[in-house]
Symmetry: D2
């Protein structure tokens, strides 16, 4: 509780209470935003002649030159710390005007959004980098056939490239979710005041533009009381984190010596000096666990917001740190994974495993249908019987001969069948099987190459979008600086409209 | 485990195991979708000449005429039940072809999406109805001034209309989130097979179009293994539910006799025969509690999906029922709230309360600044001192006179001040104060009316969008029926391309 | 809302509202308890002469003979349904007395506790059965050496028995948690009324004893308003479910062909007719996923109870179904797992794997320290170097000879070392290594046998405890029946105290 | 990854990887415990003659005198930091022996339990302090009648003392839960090694006793792999936090000017300089929100542990910080609330409100039944009619006269009734009504005083229990110090058994 507010009636605040309710340790993240908001507000107050241009000049100077607020544990929050610092520099009469027609309620909602939008753009960029590393690794593994599992049981043949691309696509949806969330984050609550706007003739749109927002968050009760933008962001972060946990799980399982499909680069694992062959996939385990953290942060935020009365309650303050921690968790995991992916090495020779696990059985049935006009149902029956007899003899598909197939076709389905040895041999060639799965979205190298090309284009577009969004924020910052410069020089904004136009052009 | 699959090697399934793993009781929701998927698949197989047109005809007939699958507890799932019913009608050789080039893995993912997209559109429509009732109630309460609270302490004056509109706007963001989610729901996994597509020359786009999807979900591993569309939907539902819980909380508190701001219609409350004045806001309490259910459903879904290996695990099956229950909870709450809102009655006379709680104090300071050129800081100091002296004398703002103001201005700030009685009287008029808050997004009736007009336009647009989306699905259904009719009549699709074009036109 | 309560003032309830707020579909679980509570209450009212013995007689008769309340969707809840049924049978004057000195608030809290304690005892019994099956399987696998993993990387040798026992012990803690929770569940809120007890001279202890409670839940606000017993139960259920999910994960991973450590019995898996070697561990996947359901149920309950005002809110009603569903999920998983465990088969030959993975390396170092007085650090260095040289030569520990060890000891640590071939050979014997780990809690068969014997004793004690707790409830039921018989025969309780003593004796 | 472990084969660790996987910033909490564990381990190794007494002496000296490990960001964890510091002081040959027969896996599980048990005892003490402040406040408010609400609607009369006691009792259950959890926390995993114990003849019981544990956590896989003690603690913390959130909610609502039941002390609120009557209950809002944090921490922990393979995974490391943060949140809230409670002031005059809200209506019916032998049902009907007629006339219960009652009794129930004015007057006396609710657990001052006396005794017993538990830990610490002294002086433990006995005595 600041000295300014506490005034005379209430007894001085207790140290334990101040520490319990202070948000100052998380407010550092908001410092720049709060200064910008105050500056834009003063520019607007001056332009609207709500305060005198001389006061406006002093306030802007105080805000933009050597402002040194005290952000220590005894400060209530960053808003009061900055206001106190300005008052100290300008004197009470002038400094007090900073407070006209605004409130901490609209200011904090605005500041969180400004800090968050930056972080969203950074995270979106990190995701494109992870996608890039997936795409590059995919390109190098177009023909690296691997066994794919369902229920952790061997199922079918694909390539590592195809797997990596599936993760690329999942991340692309996450990227789009962040982009969608951004449109609901980058709207401006300023001017909503404590909850009811103000009777001063403020120009909310002007402030919104100077701060780089895309739109006003109009209704004043909505503007100060809604934290759904935090919850939505936390929810999207949870989805990303779960996505990452799945990648981590795959890589942990596949890099176990038992699966032996992949080797994780040494410098991403830990080991034992006694058993140097052991490579504990620690980075991946941490990524996997952090997904739980992010889910916990979402639950904390959602449970805190449930049942909240409208407008403002201090409970809101306790939600923000959860947002930052969820963002940090996801950002860190995305970043380290983007480093790890390029160094993965496929180590497995898939042929023996594929044979032992009869993963080509489905393909054999398909061949009987397509090449030998066997009805699907009969083909199915024949192959089932073949596999059973091979299993009984402890043999694999590699042991098939045209004779055996013919014999079993006769005995199980009463069908005369003479398959070509060539067709049977093709079953022992994992890459060939994969190549035959060349429909849209399939694992065939040619199809994956096509898909990769399309995705790389999308990636370039995504990055361009981020650049454009960042640029928009930078332009607003430049416009704010320019306006602040005018005001700080005491220029009377004779024709505000005109000046606004001018600013926009630049 | 179906008879078809279980075959010879495994011993017959145990009843307890079958009941434990069966999804049949939740699968009823998927029945129509699974039939349509099978139909579209057969149409495509026939068009692509993967099966013979006579087989295609029989299969389509079986699927579309009097199909009566047995959905009892012993069935493994709806997919097997339908396949078994088709085989029973067409015989094993023909019926077996239904299975070519697809899998339960792609089929169930497709079916959930088809059932979900319908429900999403229904929910979006329900939300517009709730918004409509908010807008109408708002229109009737443009001048119904109420006290607004922060921290549950009286803060400022607004109108009930302004409050209702703030809820309208929050719901609009939820609407947009559903719409965004829809774009990631309405994509087609069919053709992904078990996880690796197929070596048959299927046409995935054709199936996707016949089923009304906007796009293919290309990568086959992604297509069968991703459940982020469920998690996203559940997350958005959680946000909506929290939004509703906040409305419920407001109305519960405000309708307590202590707050006495609102009366909840009799038929939405319960009472005691002994204390007939008691009106327990039961509907609102249930809405409030159900938000916790929805959060629980999200957590259950997210925790189940965390760490899942790629492609398919049976864990996925357990996530779907949580989606349906979350949808039902939110749908029910939205619907009943839309019924309740129109009957709310503002009962409070706000004037006395406003005076007793000095909510006009801020306004007095604003007047001193604007009308009497008192610096903001001094105005602040003067008003603070005035309130303190009134409190000490157990008086309210209504007891102010120009003399008292003049005296306190002198003593507290050393300022000569002679305010007009008219200005003081205005403070006793809540509506007048509200009217003065007429900046963009403020509570002034004129501004709220403007906002309402704009929102009603948006609402019409939103409904039009839903209609269009529904129409798109209906057109696809019609196209599917037509194609099925062709196929069932054994027409050989000489020129498939041409026919496709034709179908699209209709 | 019942006809009794709704009376004249409020308009008749709407069907949609009634359905939205009704708890009737979950109330079936409470039916028996509510009848017993009413009976005990009437017994006490009569004994205390609060109602006339003739009224008591009629009420008890109505409650105990052919009571047929209508539990349909239009009923508000089971409490009103039973009261209405009694009134129908006894007439309004007598039936109305059922309502004296009690309320739905205390009655529902009491009924939930009565239903819950039964279920807790059942679950405790189910857990002992699962423990039994673990103990029996453990006994059969005392010497079944397996590789144990950390980070999913091969680490050390243990036996399957040792693993199973570790799960036994974890379940034992869960059992104790249920027992602890039971002490807080089995306390009696009856007599707390709506929240303030009553001015009638009721005897709360008498009702509590007749209903088999261990203690009164004294404070009346606490009694009607606390749902921590539900949350605690749900939390313990979550812990059990997570415990089960970990067992499921182990078994899923170990039964993959890649790990090949275990075979899951056929009738607990599903398969593919084409790839009959595939055995999808569906039961285990469902167990794993259900843990997420239970966590979701806990979160729903906790989030609903957060911020609840004291005494009673209808939100409470929405928490109870989550308790039942969590109980059912856990009960089902425990039960099916107890069926599965006895049929697990260890299939792996551990020797080759152990050698390939150098899991005996640690043991070699230990031998050097113990048998050859090599300092630990040097032993460590020597073994590390040995493993590296073997790895380089693509050899395993089985390829070690005394010569190689001597050479490397010299080169890596400058130590003269001549190990006996016997010591090296022992490293190739997994069972021997396991036997050497015979400290308390270790995997050595002898130690596991000792542990098993102790645990089987504990299990018998645990079951005895459950029996005793069940017996206590049965005795209370018998006492209630007897008391009800007295009252229903119109016996005037001349000397209630005496009669109570008598009842207790029986 | 420490230098010790990393050795030769793996490339040097990357800085980003080290930072991502390091637990060092949370490990400070474990420092003392890890030193004690190492010391106890060396004492045991020496006593068991596993290491030479000269080595034991040097190791103990290094551990107990001026140990200065480097806990910086590049350290992997506290375990390696301490081991490295010891090796630096004693040289590699001796220092390496610290590693014999133990692992980080058992060590970290032991250390967390040691740090946690301290914190549990502290929290239990804090809870008794909060209970004390509730009891004292209760004592001062025995006759402070207040309106109690259900569904936030006025329901019945109680005293503030009765309310406070209900919170006391709820906290007592939480206290018992912590105590129950403690029995599962204070068990010793040491000696379990990486997962399989060791082939060295260690004495696990000795280490367990020296470290103050109540029991061994026997099974070695269970010992290193179980984190249910963390989850249980986090669950209990969640229950406490929800309990606190409900107290906060009550006080926030009751201290709103509208309810006006309570005044929260100035120094626990914040205000506005303009509206000095506003007292925002910030402390309570933060307490309320923090309950969501704790729930989030539980969910994060539970979701991280779900599906974990047995033994050790690095995911476990990520769970521990959530435990500490949940503990801190709850501890802080309990502490600040214990400061706030004593300063609460009941401000409301309950009489007028009680009358206006007909809360005595139930009591009037009870009086008719008890004093005038009116059947309950008729009494109910009469009072219902009375209230309706009063409501219609805008009167309250205070306006009742014997005549009116007689008239309505006749018209509504056909009963001749002549009540005494005295009985009606008693209804206007809230305290009198409360006094009549004097059954066990009721709000009557005499009953609350009785309850308070009993609870104060329990509180003394609870504190004594905490003291005893703390003393047990201190005694173990003293015994460890003494043993360490012996060992560090190189005393050869000729007769270990005897020495152990001696140590125990002290």
């Amino acid at each position: 509780m600041s000295k300014i507010l506490r005034g005379g009636r209430l007894s001085p605040v207790r140290k334990d209470v101040a520490e319990f309710t202070s948000s100052i340790k998380d407010d550092a993240k908001l410092f720049n935003a709060v200064v910008q908001i105050n500056t834009a507000h003063v520019v607007m107050l001056t332009e609207q002649s709500i305060i005198q241009s001389s006061d406006g000049a002093k306030l802007v100077q105080a805000l933009t030159i050597d402002l040194e607020p005290k952000l220590n544990a005894s400060s209530e929050d960053v808003h009061m710390a900055i206001e106190e610092a300005v008052i100290e520099k300008t004197g009470a009469e002038t400094g007090g005007n900073l407070h006209i027609a605004k409130s901490r309620n609209d200011q904090v909602a605005t500041a969180i959004r400004m800090a968050l939008r930056r972080q969203l753009l950074d995270l979106m960029l990190s995701i494109t980098k992870l996608q890039e590393s997936l795409a590059q690794a995919s390109e190098r593994h177009l023909k690296a056939t691997i066994l794919a599992y369902t229920h952790l049981q061997p199922a079918q043949l694909v390539t590592f490239a195809h797997y990596l691309l599936s993760r690329f696509d999942a991340l692309h949806r996450d990227f789009r979710r962040l982009q969608d969330a951004y449109t609901r984050v980058n709207v401006c609550p300023m001017g909503a005041g404590a909850l009811a706007t103000t009777s001063f003739p403020i120009d909310r749109k002007r402030v919104s533009e100077l701060l780089g927002f895309d739109e006003l968050l109009e209704n004043s009760i909505d503007a100060v009381g809604s934290r759904d933008f935090l919850l939505e962001t936390a929810a999207v972060l949870t989805l990303i984190a779960i996505n990452l946990s799945q990648i981590a799980e795959d890589l942990i399982v596949w890099s176990s010596p038992e699966f032996g499909l992949l080797e994780i680069p040494d410098d991403f694992t830990s080991t034992s000096s006694m058993m140097p062959q052991k490579k504990n996939p620690e980075v991946l385990e941490v990524i996997r666990a952090r997904a739980a953290h992010v889910l916990g942060d979402f639950v904390a935020s959602a449970a805190a917001m449930k049942n909240m009365p409208s407008t403002y309650n201090l409970d809101f303050q306790e939600v923000t740190p959860k947002l930052w921690s969820a963002l940090e968790s996801v950002k860190n995991s995305v970043t380290i994974l983007a480093q790890l992916i390029p160094n993965l090495r496929v180590t497995s020779d898939v042929s023996a495993k594929a044979a032992a696990n009869f993963v080509a059985a489905t393909e054999l049935a398909n061949i009987l249908v397509r090449e030998y006009n066997v009805p699907f149902r009969s083909a199915h029956k024949i192959v089932g019987s073949l596999v059973k007899s091979l299993l009984a003899a402890k043999q694999t598909l590699e042991d098939l001969s045209p004779e055996i197939v013919g014999k079993i076709a006769q005995s199980s389905a009463g069908i005369e069948l003479s398959v070509k040895a060539r067709d049977l041999i093709s079953l022992s060639n994992p890459l060939k099987i994969v190549e035959s799965h060349n429909v849209r979205g399939g694992p065939a190298p040619a199809e994956v190459r096509r898909a990769l090309t399309a995705r790389k284009k999308n990636l370039i577009a995504a990055k361009a979008r981020i650049s454009k969004m960042k640029q928009h924020l930078q332009q607003a910052e430049a416009a704010l600086k320019l306006a602040a410069k005018f005001i700080s020089q005491g220029e009377i904004p004779v024709n505000t409209k005109l000046k606004k136009e001018k600013l926009k052009v630049e």
